[in-house]
């Protein structure tokens, strides 16, 4: 970051612009395109929605994993997962 700001709760205009660009980069491609000229508020909202959707995905995947539990052999799964993650 360029300059150190005091950690007060006021945000300067520079900080706002920095935040806007950071938030834009955070969103996945699909959500980013409509945000080309978005205000900080819109970006904050979209980021919120994105995070909530990730939370829902976690809920859903936990549910599915739970149903698959009986077949789970975690030791061989461990090797397989790590292998596939490292190959990416």
């Amino acid at each position: 970051m360029s300059g150190r700001r005091s950690s007060g709760s006021r945000i300067t205009e520079d900080e706002i612009n920095e935040l806007i660009s950071k938030l834009q980069l955070l969103l996945p491609e699909a959500r980013r395109n409509s945000m080309a000229r978005a205000s900080a508020t819109k970006l904050l909202n979209e980021t919120c929605n994105y995070i909530k959707s990730l939370h829902r995905e976690m809920d859903d995947l936990s549910d599915r994993l739970s149903n698959l539990m009986l077949t789970m052999d975690t030791d061989s799964a461990q090797a397989e997962i790590i292998r596939s993650l490292l190959l990416h």
């Binding site: 970051m1 700001r5 950690s7 007060g8 709760s9 945000i11 900080e15 706002i16 920095e18 935040l19 950071k22 938030l23 955070l26 900080a40 508020t41 904050l44 909202n45 980021t47 919120c48 994105y50 995070i51 909530k52 990730l54 939370h55 995905e57 976690m58 809920d59 995947l61 936990s62 549910d63 599915r64 994993l65 739970s66 149903n67 698959l68 539990m69 009986l70 077949t71 789970m72 052999d73 975690t74 030791d75 799964a77 461990q78 397989e80 997962i81 790590i82 596939s84 993650l85 490292l86 990416h88």
Partner: protein, 144 residues
């Protein structure tokens, strides 16, 4: 980032393996309890991989531990009061975001909030990838 993935994945699997003894026919736990356990393990793995340097990871650990214990009680004027974490007023626009980031309500600085958000999202994304990989690998196992 690859090291983070492996560490996060390994930790998640280690936590999941604790479920196995609980599934023995003599001590069955319900599917919903299983799901809760898996979800808690998922967030725990994120916090573990991120370490204590982040507000969100520390808040997640506190949240997970709190669920196991009864809420802290204090005696004030001879009455029992449940101690709740103090909420600080947030400045405009970012309230919603603070609610959604663990520990977000304690972050006053806007720039810090974006840092934490960015970090949290990355670990969330990684956790989703790990869980999807597990689901697909175990689904294949069933038909194999």
């Amino acid at each position: 980032m690859q090291d983070m993935n492996a560490m996060q994945a390994t930790h998640f699997l280690r936590l999941l393996s604790r479920l196995k003894p609980l599934m023995a026919p003599t001590l069955p736990i319900s599917t919903s309890q299983q799901t809760k356990f898996i979800l808690k393990s998922a967030y725990a793995s994120m916090a573990y991989a991120a370490g204590p340097r982040r507000v969100w990871s520390r808040a997640l650990v506190r949240r997970i531990r709190r669920n196991r214990r009864r809420p802290t009680m204090r005696i004030i004027n001879k009455r029992r009061h449940v101690v709740r974490p103090r909420r600080r007023p947030a400045e405009g626009g970012s309230e919603e975001l603070r609610k959604v980031i663990p520990g977000g309500d304690t972050i006053l600085n806007g720039a810090r909030l974006v840092e934490e958000t960015s970090d949290y999202v990355q670990f969330l994304r990684t956790q989703v990838i790990i869980m999807k990989a597990l689901v697909s690998s175990f689904s294949k196992g069933q038909h194999g």
